[in-house]
């Protein structure tokens, strides 16, 4: 098992496919916490997130032969989790990709003074108020530390769109956090 823990995700997947299906537990161990965190940010519901992640692992196992080992496994499994979360939200009628009416002034230089670490803390507190359309790329970028390319692969949108959404999300979250501070 020690040997397996040193191998890459793609190598582990190949072992599951060709040798022993029980090695899939290694994949679950590697991604359980990450996916639970991601699904919780999306659904804002720990129980629903747990269901989403369980379904994600089951779907990943069923369709494991369709995964191309030349690509990144993490993007592939995050994509499944994303689909599962969106489906779960749609079932609960919580999914609204339409941008909320957020009042933000355009003359504020909101991006320049925003440090990444500061943003990360703010993101976690204010994320639940952000529309899911922006919550997703922002979560993946700042909290899951994914690159634009990986986010593009997970959300199936062009890299330019990822950049645009993150930029807009930053602006919106800044306003949300400012409003929250004012209300306190």
């Amino acid at each position: 098992m020690n040997n397996i823990s040193q191998q890459s995700d793609e190598q582990v997947v190949e072992l599951v496919r060709t040798k022993d299906q029980e090695i899939f537990s290694e994949i679950i161990n590697r991604y359980q916490i990450k996916l639970l965190r991601y699904a919780t940010y999306l659904t804002q519901d720990d129980y629903l997130a747990a269901d989403v992640v369980q379904e994600t692992f089951i779907k990943a196992f069923i369709n494991l032969q369709s995964f191309n080992v030349k690509k990144r496994f993490s993007s592939w499994i995050y994509r499944i989790a994303h689909n599962q979360a969106i489906n779960a939200l749609k079932k609960q009628k919580k999914y609204s990709p339409i941008i909320d009416n957020l009042d933000f002034s355009s003359d504020q230089d909101i991006e320049s003074d925003l440090l990444q670490s500061e943003l990360r803390d703010q993101v976690q507190n204010c994320l639940e108020y952000l529309p899911i359309l922006y919550r997703e790329p922002l979560t993946l970028f700042y909290l899951e530390k994914k690159s634009y390319k990986e986010i593009s692969d997970i959300l199936r949108i062009p890299t330019k769109t990822v950049a645009t959404r993150i930029s807009r999300a930053k602006k919106q979250i800044r306003v949300i956090c400012q409003n929250q501070l004012k209300n306190k």
């Binding site: 496919r17 899939f24 679950i28 629903l48 089951i58 069923i62 369709n63 369709s66 593009s152 890299t159």
Partner: protein, 180 residues
């Protein structure tokens, strides 16, 4: 803005043991891996569908052009008559094929990395150009005169003749004259 309702797991013991749940489903055989050929077959069918669909669309486009040309110059009353009797299923089939083709292309991995509107536009233009080119080089004409497609073209032309009363009007007096 109202605060979203947040359901939280408060203790570590409440955390679900996903590893155990998923692995027991796998070990018991409740969850099984789909075989590789299943996905291979899927991608082959999808590729063949796209190729077949493209050929079908090009054929429908050039057939539409062929039928339009066979009607000759459009005066207003001729156009009205032609519109009434035109085999509309051919252009409708072409449009439906294009929509289906675009939907199929959206399923491919490359589609989200590029500007999909541009890919779709390119597909439509490519189909139109291919249809026009086949008509331009007279392939339609030769197909209508010989080869396995001859009968199909003749049937379409015959159906069109029924819907071209001006040609009948020209033919009838000749026939009458020959009787005398």
């Amino acid at each position: 803005m109202p605060k979203p309702v947040k359901k939280q797991i408060n203790s570590q013991s409440e955390l679900p043991n996903l590893n155990e749940t998923v692995m027991s489903a796998i070990k018991s055989g409740k969850v099984t891996m789909k075989p590789k050929w299943y996905f291979l077959l899927g991608s082959i069918i999808s590729t063949l569908s796209l190729v077949g669909l493209s050929i079908g669309v090009v054929f429908a486009i050039n057939l539409t052009l062929f039928l339009l040309k066979s009607h000759g110059r459009m005066t207003q009353w001729k156009l009205e008559l032609m519109l009434a009797g035109f085999p509309w299923w051919i252009p409708v089939l072409a449009i439906f094929g294009i929509i289906l083709g675009i939907w199929l292309m959206k399923k491919y991995d490359f589609s989200y990395q590029k500007n999909f509107a541009l890919i779709a536009a390119f597909f439509v233009v490519a189909m139109l150009i291919a249809g026009i080119m086949i008509d331009y080089f007279g392939i339609n004409e030769s197909w209508s005169k010989r080869g396995p497609m001859q009968r199909f073209y003749q049937q379409l032309n015959n159906r069109n003749d029924i819907n071209r009363p001006w040609q009948k009007q020209l033919k009838t007096p000749k026939r009458i004259n020959s009787l005398y």
